[in-house]
Homo-oligomer: 481 residues x 3
């Protein structure tokens, strides 16, 4: 809104460059293939092309990206992909090539694929792709679908209970429209369809599980995830990925109320009040200089440097690299799993859960105290940029105490479920289909989680009246009834 | 905040114009009557005058507006109103004249009226006013007040239940302060009152149902609605109307969680992350160029053009022109009503509802499949600006499935109510006063609606854990109990 | 984001000043002590130093502040503190000196204290500190901790109910992590601890109840509150304090849903749509000119002047100076308490509450009708800047009616609790531990409060479907069951 008013200023000689953003007005060559795409698509899908034109991809060649000093570099391959060093990263560079895209089809005589995947991005960004493969989010589809307990929950939630109590199983489109919207669908090619277009009849692949941009999407080339979940196509603007709205698409609660807690935290308030004057595109990112309060990315992902340019934190797309606890209770908060594929975890009772129903951690599958300390230390180094040691120590002591507190409140709920099972008031075969079991599930999924996130990120009311301790204690009273 | 810092720049010769916004620094004449208003009101109500001074109205005459090329024109009358062609649109131009304003009174010897209505706006914007009359929102007062079933719901919700179970009917001020805040009140003149002012004693009309800015307000001139509900007085800034906060005043949930779903959708995230560099005042509006993700207005109201200036969508103030389904369940999602006055609808059981309690649509009163296809096509044309055909097809297929799914979940709830009625556990005379009936109402009003909007606008958690499928399935379990 | 793009502009000769914000590019001297602090801390805690450098404190001396015309002055002392008149307000100026800081310790041979308190700020801002002491918020710790009834509620909410129904009392860290996060903790010095630092081993005070920034924090110097709760350290940017996100940290609901109601109100919508072009740092603040819709601060705190520079409202840090009603129900909405220490109030039944359980006000402890009228008048003078008299009169008439309405709905709930007590279905010893009592508490704490705030600030859905009348009437039905 404001820039608009200042556009006339930009017509002053020599100032036009300023309008193009951080990367400057470099004019770079497009590949012949991409030129061809754009020729039609700038009128067929003008929004996509306009968005891409504003991207760094459109104004940078791999050779230029590679020439940057290391901490400023966003390109992590050792060399530019074959034949692409001197052209912009355009349509054809991402939508063709790559190994085994089952969604590849002939489009105006060129082989292109619809779904751009982490494997495609890895040609220029292999480090990030490798880290992301270690990120639990990349396994979000399988961690739900291959875990019989969690999949039972999904079916119980998404199914419709008939008058006789029998649950009608949800169909594939309902699953895609609910849990899998964030977890990711399995995208499969189901043949080709012919469609009339402005260029005459053309054939396109038919995809099931499409559209989807879930973080653990199973792609037609076998890779997992979608970089576009956070790095929004087709501008892939780092300023968008760094703002909390990207994370908040999925992490908004009530199961994972991170975005809400952040929004009412002091950090979130400063972000909303002051970020219009921040430098959200600077790489490496400089706390204090480029921003005055952290966003999600600052604490959990970005490369941060101090005023001397020394790293405070390394960039990581394994997003629990700086996290000791997995706050998200399943059903108890616990140390982070060692491996991103959590469907293989077995607790002491043989169930595929990181803790037993009584809270005992499946310790062999979780990181140990030493690794927890290491990860906590990485995060605290960021906190210490703006907070004194005693502040940080006090904060984390309180969080550890709240972890234990919230786990006790989940255990209290579980004992009431056990009692109901013992008295045959409920059956333990399905953990999610009876009223008391649902109250138990809400105790951890909504209330204990809310209390933990409110503690970790200082959003008080989510720890008390907004699905916090008030509801947790009321729930125990209701369950006892 | 930022512009302020740059104000010194604007003092460079020739740059001052830039500060005045899109319409430029035209200096236009005020009518004598408006000059007189401003003389006092710039100190009596300085906020109003300052706001208006920033408006396009203050800097444009009807003659200038009329001279614009058609797609840029915001003035839809064939000619300027009598005698007003060469003056700015000031106080007197809107607050006097017009047909039969019962709130007209003598103010410093001039006849003025308090409530500016769509009929007043129609002198320059007749097309928009005509479209809005066909908009279901313009009937929001009568659709509630004249529908005995809905009005029973209002009274049951807003009344206070005494210890013996009898409900004390809500008074008029409570109604005005709750449902009618959005639906609109009936504004009536109840005489004149004298008040001491800085200009001595003056008489002013006493209005009942005032203040109100509901979309279906019944005005003292007999017209319906309030343009100011979205086009905020007295600047009437199109940039405000186009941002989701205007729609979100009423459509925020939990009954119509549109603003919340949008906020966590990818579209909403991009809006929040990037809209500070968008051109929110451009007419016609150019996807990709002026904005990179749609707001409510982009999909449902605005005139959009492609890079060649060809219309992608026509401007419409009948806001369901691009909508096949009415997602809002009453109690089932259904095809849009043909006419904006829905109080005349009768379902197969003779009730004034667009569907029967078992889900059968009151088909004669609703648009048919062909009209649905036409409206869906209009919306999809906008989607296709940034999304491929297979993306769009997959999205709408999923939405249609979710419509059917959510309707089944409402039917499952109704069957449980029916059973309660059969077993005399509840009485069917009032559909909203007993516990099981309220659970049924929440099944459609909160949960099924939430699931539908989450599907339509891709805000996953509102389809699952935030008054979505989790609550819907839990509610069925609780009702069965 | 946008400013960044325009930075090149600022390199034009003579324009650089514009980037430094409202106070201009004055170069002011730092005290020797502060120079010393910064020498290390700019690399130890770079975020703090960078933030402070952007502050007005860093660019202004008390002497300069004192020289401003009275309405522009933010400095309210009669003279600059001893010896500080000619230096910037740096680290040492706030973190040393003052009367009896028990958290004072030797740091590089200088006595410094960790916790900067209202008593420290009062050296330059005594009027604001004095007003704040009269603000009920300054007593937020004691009003909870010293009120046996409210403290019972805290313990019932934060304690964990065992299977036998016995509640395990919450520990101090849990209290600090929940209610006291907003109300404030008691910060006490528990000795010194030695820590290895980049400067070798150093000793630091160990603080209990730390970190905390609650509005009623009990400080180690005996003072109460934290100016930093709203005036965010270390920039203390008035633009942050004036934006609703500051207030929304604590006032977000569901108990006090102010931030949420504001966000969906027309005022909030305009703020979000248009505030990027407002002048959020101007003192005094000019409605219409500097902003076009009020934020929390505009109505409740700030000094506002009209176009002639005449005060519309005086600055006040006693934030109920412009409020007739205390909307927040305990358990009924009521006239504001006369004194900020509410733990001394006794109602007709001898309980420490501003109303009796049947709604009778503890009249002797509350402001009378004349004082209410005076306060209401102050607020209305602000409303009248942008709204006509009939508008304002209608709005406040409706609010008064809704106060009475919501109180009746709380009374209806209390009668049901009384009946349960009479029939021995519950015990009156603890008002918050049984299911029906919790429903009663939710009737006032969540629903009646929501209805009142929705009325006061025009956020319709919070008065109806979002913890409003729908839930209030449903709750009465459930309690009756």
């Amino acid at each position: 809104m404001m820039l608009r008013r200042l556009w006339p200023l930009l017509l002053l000689p020599g100032l036009a460059a300023a309008s193009l953003g951080a990367a400057g007005p470099q004019k770079v060559k497009l590949s012949e293939a991409s030129e061809e795409c754009i020729e039609c698509h700038q009128s067929v899908t003008p929004g996509i092309v306009a968005n891409w034109r504003r991207s760094r991809h459109a104004r940078t060649t791999p050779a230029q990206a590679l020439a940057k000093p290391e901490t400023e570099r966003r390109f992590s391959a050792k060399a530019a992909p074959q034949g692409l060093a001197q052209v912009a990263v355009g349509c054809a560079e991402c939508h063709s090539g790559g190994a085994s895209h089952r969604d590849r089809f002939k489009h105006n005589d060129r082989p292109v694929h619809v779904v751009v995947t982490p494997a495609d991005c890895a040609r220029c960004h292999p480090t990030e792709e490798r880290q992301y493969r270690q990120n639990i989010m990349s396994q979000a589809y399988g961690n739900l679908r291959s875990n019989p307990l969690y999949w039972q929950m999904v079916n119980t939630v998404n199914g419709i209970r008939g008058p006789a109590g029998k649950i009608q199983m949800p169909d594939a489109l309902s699953q895609a429209d609910s849990c899998l919207q964030c977890h990711g669908t399995k995208v499969e090619v189901k043949g080709l369809v012919k469609r009339e277009t402005s260029q005459g009849e053309m054939a396109f692949p038919v995809l099931s599980g499409w559209p989807n941009r879930g973080v653990g999407r199973i792609n037609p080339d076998g890779s997992k995830g979608s970089c576009g979940a956070c790095h929004n196509r087709h501008r892939f603007d780092i300023a968008v990925a760094r703002q909390p709205y990207s994370c908040g698409q999925c992490h908004k609660g009530p199961d994972v109320p991170v975005a809400k807690v952040y929004a009412v935290s002091r950090h979130g308030g400063i972000f909303k009040s002051a970020s219009s004057s921040w430098n959200l595109r600077q790489v490496p990112w400089r706390p204090g200089k480029d921003f005055s309060a952290p966003t999600c990315a600052a604490c959990h992902v970005s490369l941060l440097v101090d005023p001397e340019g020394e790293p405070i934190a390394q960039r990581s797309h394994r997003m629990n690299d700086r996290l000791a606890w997995r706050l998200f209770g399943l059903p108890y908060g616990h140390a982070h799993p060692k491996e991103p594929d959590t469907s293989k975890i077995r607790n002491k009772d043989g169930r595929p859960m990181p803790t037993a129903l009584d809270g005992t951690p499946a310790a062999g599958f979780l990181i140990d105290a030493a690794e927890q300390a290491k990860r906590r230390g990485r995060l605290q180094k960021i906190c210490l940029t703006c907070h004194a040691t005693s502040w940080v120590a006090g904060h984390f002591k309180r969080l550890d105490n709240t972890m234990a507190y919230s786990n006790r409140s989940v255990l209290a709920a579980f004992k009431l479920v056990q009692r109901a099972w013992r008295h045959k008031l409920a059956r333990p075969d399905n953990l999610f289909d009876e009223h008391i079991e649902r109250l138990w599930a809400e105790q951890w999924l909504f209330y204990a989680n809310s209390v933990r996130y409110a503690s970790a990120m200082m959003g008080a009311d989510y720890g008390v009246f907004d699905r916090g301790r008030w509801q947790a204690s009321g729930n125990l009273a209701a369950m006892a009834d």
